[in-house]
Every structure is written in structure tokens, then in C-alpha cells.
């Protein structure tokens, strides 16, 4: 059987085939489609969205110790959240096969940094597999589970954006059911730090065995040639090497930690010059240099920043100039992404801009609040950081600060800092943008949605009750599309002595139920319109101009959010059916 699949879909396919019986993840680009594919096509793998990556990892760890084959998925920065468990798991080792996806994002297409998680794997002494195409995404997923069981170790499958988000032809088979392995309660293996000292040598033993295995691991592949040039490469970069340097000898590393010293030395001895082409940091290259291999060229030519491509390799190797965008003699203006038509975040940013406060933001669609036209978000770091940063700014003497966070990010990492803010008597003002979805990654359900990954009903988290339980004194809930009310409520919350929470509520427009509903659009009655342009200040992508300079609302795009009608001073914007 053969299908044209996304790298992420191929990973899902491999997990299903390999008999995986538990999957946990938190949405994060470029990893999200793995769990989504499993939920739609392979629900027998028992997939779920967890509250955050640490929880996902720990649930997976429990399921693997309990004897199942397990897949846990996250983006690169998600592994930071899960790192506490990730670093300790090798001390006990696993029972059932355990693979964690680390989806790295060179080029930071949708991320706040560009970390190379192979370093995290090395620190945790966890083996790393790196597929080079969609077919290998499927194959290495299966191989990873087998490796995990063979060496009783968690395994990292490292993907990068281009690998995860490219499509190719994938051959596949059928699901093989795998029996649950027996779990024997063993405190000396699975419990308390005091025994961990006894486990410490086991970690080294496993690593040594893996290092020996790496020398003959079939995932590492030598493609010799008569050229004087050799290339050591991994991941999707292998494809670029084949494209740009078709004559070169290639050592494709499918397992990039631990690395095989003998294999690398032998390969390099056969070639005059060996290029190391790997996306991210010089992980393989440093290891080779430390082995004393001297005929190596790598990051000094290709660079560490951003995504690789055949064009970039060509440029780096001096193989001819690659054309650049036309910028001379024409205005190549940018087209940054915008908040969707009818997005409930818009009114909040307009209010924050009006109130001239310092805003610490968080991770989600609302990072766009930092851009024009709002420019009403002043810091963004990591998941949940808005609250701690706001508390810190307050300690530094900045009084009018507001933290904003989405419902999913609040659940992910915002609850401990809120408890802390109350406990340490902060004057925090927190806005929770509650659109009942994990919006930026594609409106996945989360505990505030009332639905699970399969679309089935699930208990809905009561955000107000949760905030109340932390001891927050003032909690106001406001319809996120009521622009004046939001300003008033925010003003009150900022003035309030003690921690205050405002929940700006309204569903994400990208949710299937929002897209499906019948919308009566708003229209502009030109007779009443004075062309004052107030409605353009909503910055709604559905509002454009007619040739006569009147505003016009795209009927098929309008979500009937009412904000432009609220802002019109002459009531010229009306519901289509009501208008004359």
C-alpha cells in the first residue's frame, strides 16, 4: 500500500502499524498533525491532547512502564517543559517501547527560539533518530519503538519543520498488535532518588551498548563514491545534499546520538574533504572534530541560523548565484499574517492600546498584538510567562501592567504563576483570552473546550472557579466582542487593589462549529455612511473600500461579530436582513 503523506502523517501511520496503544501530546508546530491524524484515522492508538508536554510525557512514561507501546509528541520547546521527566526516565528505563517526538523548528517559522534538541537528548543520554523523508518518518517510528524495547530506553525521534511538513510517497503495511508487557512493581528501578544512585551505572551501561550498536545500526547508511568529496549528513538535509552534490560520497546518519566513532573515522579517511551538512547546531560536526578528524568543513560554511535548502547549500559551496527576490525598482511590500475575521482578541488589543499599559503577552495567536496596528504587547517569552513577567515588572516599579494569556496556555503553564501572584500579594491584572480552543495550532480542543481529541464530550474546566480558588479578589467575565465593556472592565481590573482576572470570552472563529453556523452578515448602508473611516479602525480583513471610497464588508467572510457596527457613529452598518 502506498499513499502521498505528510511527514507527520507518516509518523502517525508508523505508530499505528507498530501497535502503539497510548499517545499523548500537546499541540505545537510542527508536530500537531501527528496526534490529529491518529485521532481521525487511527483512534485505536488511544490518542489524547494533554494539558501540557510534561503531563503528556509522564502519562506516556506511565503507560510504557505499564507495558504498552507509547508515542508522545511535542515541539522542540515543549520538551523543555517535559525535561524534568525526560532527564530522569533513562534511570529506570522503559518496559514497553517509548518514542518521544521532538519537532524542531529551524528558521523559527512558528516558534520563539531555534534550539537543537539533540543536545537535550545527549544531556539525558537518550538515543536520537532522524529520518530524511516521509517514508523514513514511518519506518523510523517503527524502528524507534523496537530500539526502545531492545535497550529499555526512551528514544527521541527528531524531526524538523521541513521534514514534518513535506509530503512524499510512503509505502506501508497493516497494524501488528503487540501484547502488553508485564509490569513488575520494583521500587529499586522505578522509585525514589535514594535508589537512583544504584541505577546511575545502568544509564552508562545502556549508553555504552547503544554506542556500540551505532557502529552497525542499519539506520546509518554509507553511499560511497569515487569523488574526493564526502558528506556526513542527517535529516532532511540529506535530500539537499543529494540534489546539490550528487557526485559526493555520503554517510547519512539515521541515528545521531550516540554517534559511531569508528564508522565516522573510516568514512572520513576515504575522502579528501568531508562536509558536514546538518540543520541546527554543529552536533555531529563537534563530535567529529573531538575525534580528531581534521578534513571537516561544516558550520563555518553553511551557518547555524535558519533553515537549510538546496539554494542555500549552492550559495554556501559557491556553486553559482541563486536569484534573489525582486526588490529594486518595485515596492515588494510585506504581508504579515493577521488576526482572523471576527477574532475576539481584536477588541482586547484595541482596549489595551487605548489604556496605554505595559502588556506582558504569552504564546498564541495573540502574539500578533505586538505588531501594528495594535502594538499593544510588549513582552513574549515562553508558555505561561506572561504572569510571572508581569509580577516581575511590578517588582521593578511598573504599576500599570497587564498580563494576557489564552485559555490553553493558561491551563498549560499559567496556573502556578497565578497562585504565586496571589500568594506573594501581587497587584496582578490578568486577562484570559478564552476562546475555548488551542487556536494558533489549528483550534484543537483543550480542557476549557468541553470536548476531547476525538470530538467527544469531556468535562469542561470552570476557569472562574479555578481563579477563585487561587484567591483572586476580582474576577470579571466579559463578552469579548463588546468593545466598550472590555475597556471599562479592564480599567476596573487595573484600578483594583489586589490580583484581578478578566476573562474575555468568545469562541475561536476557526472552530468547526463556528465555521459551520449560518451567519447573517453585516452590510454598509451607503446613504447613512459619512466616510468617517471609523470602521476601518477595527482592522477587520473583511472590510475593504469600494471605488467610491465607501467601506464594504465581504459577506462570505463576515462572522457577524458586531464590532464594526458598534463603532459606526451613524449606525450605517446593519445586519443584512434588517437593512432596507
Amino acid at each position: 500500500m502506498r499513499e502521498f503523506l505528510l511527514g507527520n502523517e507518516a509518523i502517525a501511520r508508523g505508530a499505528w502499524e507498530a501497535g502503539v496503544k497510548f499517545v499523548a501530546g500537546y499541540p505545537g508546530t510542527p508536530s500537531t498533525e501527528i496526534v490529529e491524524t491518529l485521532a481521525i484515522r487511527f483512534p485505536e492508538t488511544n490518542p489524547r491532547w494533554s494539558a501540557n508536554e510534561k503531563v503528556a510525557f509522564e502519562e506516556g512514561m506511565g503507560a510504557a512502564i505499564g507495558g504498552l507501546r507509547v508515542l508522545v509528541t511535542m515541539k522542540h520547546v515543549g520538551l523543555n517543559v517535559a525535561a524534568d521527566a525526560f532527564m530522569v526516565f533513562p534511570y529506570s528505563g522503559t518496559n514497553g517501547g517509548f518514542v518521544v517526538i521532538s519537532a524542531d523548528d529551524p528558521g523559527m517559522h512558528s516558534s520563539q527560539n531555534e534550539q537543537d534538541n539533540r543536545y537535550l537528548a545527549r544531556a539525558g543520554k537518550v538515543p536520537v533518530l532522524e529520518p530524511s523523508d516521509a517514508q523514513e518518518c514511518r519506518d523510523f517510528m517503527i524502528a524507534g519503538l523496537e530500539l526502545s524495547e531492545q535497550f529499555k530506553t526512551p528514544v527521541m525521534l527528531r524531526t524538523t519543520t521541513r521534514l514534518a511538513h513535506h509530503k512524499g510517497l510512503v509505502e506501508f503495511g497493516v497494524r501488528k498488535e503487540v501484547e502488553r508487557r508485564e509490569f513488575v512493581a520494583d521500587a529499586k528501578r522505578f522509585s525514589v532518588p535514594i535508589y537512583r544512585l544504584m541505577r546511575r551505572p545502568e544509564v552508562e551501561k545502556t549508553l555504552n551498548a547503544l554506542t556500540e550498536y551505532a557502529e552497525t545500526c542499519p539506520l546509518n547508511r554509507v553511499e560511497d563514491s569515487r569523488s574526493s568529496i564526502g558528506v556526513v549528513t542527517s535529516g532532511i538535509a540529506y535530500q539537499y545534499v543529494k540534489e546539490v552534490m550528487p557526485e559526493a560520497g555520503v554517510l547519512r546518519m539515521g541515528m545521531t546520538f550516540p554517534l559511531p566513532a569508528k564508522l565516522l573515522k573510516e568514512f572520513c579517511a576515504k575522502y579528501e574533504t568531508v562536509y558536514v551538512v546538518e540543520e541546527g547546531e554543529p552536533f555531529i560536526e563537534e563530535y567529529m572534530r573531538n575525534l580528531g578528524i581534521t578534513n571537516v568543513k561544516g558550520k563555518e560554511i553553511f551557518g547555524v541560523i535558519g533553515e537549510y535548502s538546496p539554494g542555500r547549500l549552492r550559495n554556501s559551496l559557491g556553486l553559482g548565484d541563486v536569484p534573489k527576490p525582486f526588490t529594486e525598482g518595485v515596492r515588494l511590500i510585506p504581508r504579515p499574517p493577521m488576526l482572523c475575521v471576527g477574532c475576539g482578541h481584536r477588541t482586547v488589543f484595541a482596549a489595551l492600546r487605548q489604556l496605554k499599559v505595559i502588556v506582558s503577552g504569552d504564546i498564541g495567536c495573540y502574539t500578533m498584538g505586538a505588531l501594528p496596528p495594535y502594538e499593544a504587547e510588549h513582552t513574549t517569552f515562553s508558555m505561561g510567562s506572561s504572569i510571572g513577567v508581569s509580577v516581575g515588572l511590578e517588582q521593578a516599579g511598573h504599576k500599570d501592567t497587564v498580563a494576557i494569556i489564552g485559555d490553553s496556555t493558561f491551563i498549560h503553564a499559567g496556573i502556578p504563576p497565578l497562585i504565586d501572584a496571589v500568594y506573594n500579594k501581587s497587584n496582578l491584572t490578568l486577562v484570559i483570552l478564552d476562546n475555548s480552543a488551542t487556536g494558533m495550532t489549528g483550534s484543537q480542543p483543550n480542557p476549557s473546550s468541553g470536548k476531547d481529541v476525538l470530538g467527544e464530550e469531556a468535562p469542561k474546566l470552570d476557569l472562574e472557579a479555578l481563579c477563585r480558588a487561587t484567591g483572586v479578589g476580582s474576577i470579571e467575565v466579559v463578552d469579548t466582542w463588546q468593545r466598550k465593556e472590555i475597556v471599562n472592565v479592564l480599567r476596573g481590573a487595573i484600578a483594583y487593589k489586589g490580583p484581578a482576572v478578566v476573562i474575555a470570552r468568545g469562541p475561536c472563529q476557526q472552530l468547526p462549529e463556528m465555521k459551520r453556523r449560518n451567519v447573517i452578515p453585516f452590510i454598509v448602508e451607503e446613504e447613512l455612511c459619512t466616510q468617517c473611516d471609523a470602521c476601518f479602525k477595527v482592522w477587520c480583513p473583511a472590510i475593504t473600500r469600494t471605488e467610491n471610497n465607501y467601506p464594504v464588508i465581504a459577506a462570505k467572510e463576515c462572522t457577524s461579530c458586531t464590532v464594526c457596527a458598534q463603532i459606526c457613529p451613524t449606525d450605517a452598518i446593519k445586519l443584512a436582513e434588517v437593512a432596507a
Binding site: G168, F326, I333, M338, P373
Partner: protein, 194 residues
């Protein structure tokens, strides 16, 4: 065919450039080619630039198209065609551009600074540019959103994929209630190139 065909689809989120790239890939697969595709976009919202790379041939390595290599750049809108025009093979490639403007809502004063002359500019660079009234035609056929499929029809005349493979692919991939309109849109695009 030994050479790889490289295509660059450029549009704005929501215009359906990804859909026609996908249809092209599936048609290439159905025609027996090794095929790869990749999409580049920033954060996942609508309204930003979207570029989709498609490559097919006997054996394809990189999913990414290199600037200067594309057999065709398919621009669903003028500014985006301009943004990715340097991907075209200046000697042998074609830029197919929908004669249509989408003003970036997130850029201050965009209406005034939009490069309305993009098509003439590209022609002045001695590139082979074919401007097509895809949006206009799609509106006449009942739904402006089918402009993407009009362009796909035009593109299909440039590719070594038989008409019946396109037909089969469209019928397989497009939902029944949209199929008739889209087949008409596809045909209209083909006729524009004849």
C-alpha cells in the same frame, strides 16, 4: 522524463493555493511520478503569504524548489506573484498570474503603496509572464473562490500529465457539491491557454 518539474504556488492564506498545489501533486502521483510537496508559512493564521513547493519526476530528492529553477510560478494574486517571481527559470519557465489584487490589510497605507504595476514590472525583466483573469472568470462561473482552479486549469496545459489524470484527480479530491463548478473552472483555465 528524466528532469524534475518544479512548481511554486504563491498566494494569500485562504485563497486556496495549497489546494491546487495538492491537486497537482496528486495528479503527478496518479501519472506515475515520484512527487514531493511542501508548504511554507509563518504562524498558522489566515491572511499571510503562503508558498507551496511541488516537485515531481523520476526521482525527487528535495521538496524545496530553488530560486531560478521553477518551470512555473503560479501567483494567485499580483503581489505574491512578484514576491516569488525569482523562483522561475528565467529562460524556460512561466509565471502564471491571476490579474487580481489583494491589499495586505495589516500594512499601513497598503492601498497606496501596493505594487499595482507588478505584471508590467516582471515583463520588463524579460520573464515569460502570462496574466490571466482567473478571479473574474471564477466570479462569472458563480464563485470567485474558484480562481485557484481556473489557474490550475491553465497550469495543466504546461505539464506532462494527461487530461484524464487531471479529471480523475479532481473528481477524487473535490467534494461532490463543488465538483461541477470546479470542473468548469478548470476547463475555463485550460481554454485561456489555447
Amino acid at each position: 522524463m528524466t528532469n524534475t518539474i518544479s512548481l511554486m504556488f504563491a498566494g494569500v492564506g485562504g485563497q486556496g493555493s495549497l489546494l491546487i498545489a495538492e491537486l497537482t501533486s496528486l495528479a503527478a502521483v496518479n501519472a506515475g511520478y515520484d512527487t514531493k510537496q511542501t508548504e511554507v508559512h509563518g504562524v498558522s493564521q489566515r491572511g499571510g503569504s503562503v508558498e507551496t513547493h511541488v516537485r515531481f519526476g523520476k526521482k525527487v530528492h528535495s521538496p524545496i524548489v530553488t530560486p531560478g529553477e521553477a518551470n512555473a510560478v503560479i501567483g494567485l494574486e499580483k503581489l505574491e506573484a512578484l514576491r516569488f517571481a525569482h523562483y522561475v527559470n528565467a529562460k524556460e519557465g512561466t509565471i502564471l498570474v491571476n490579474d487580481y489584487e489583494l491589499i495586505p490589510g495589516s500594512v499601513v497605507n497598503a492601498e497606496n503603496i501596493y505594487p499595482h504595476e507588478a505584471i508590467d514590472f516582471l515583463k520588463s525583466k524579460e520573464l515569460h509572464v502570462t496574466a490571466l483573469p482567473a478571479s473574474k472568470t471564477a466570479r462569472e462561473l458563480g464563485d470567485g473562490r474558484m480562481a485557484n482552479v481556473v489557474l490550475l486549469g491553465a497550469l495543466s496545459t504546461l505539464l506532462p500529465i494527461p487530461q484524464e489524470t487531471w479529471d480523475k484527480t479532481l473528481r477524487f479530491r473535490i467534494p461532490a457539491r463543488y465538483l461541477e463548478g470546479n470542473l468548469k473552472a478548470f476547463q475555463a483555465g485550460r481554454e485561456m491557454m489555447s
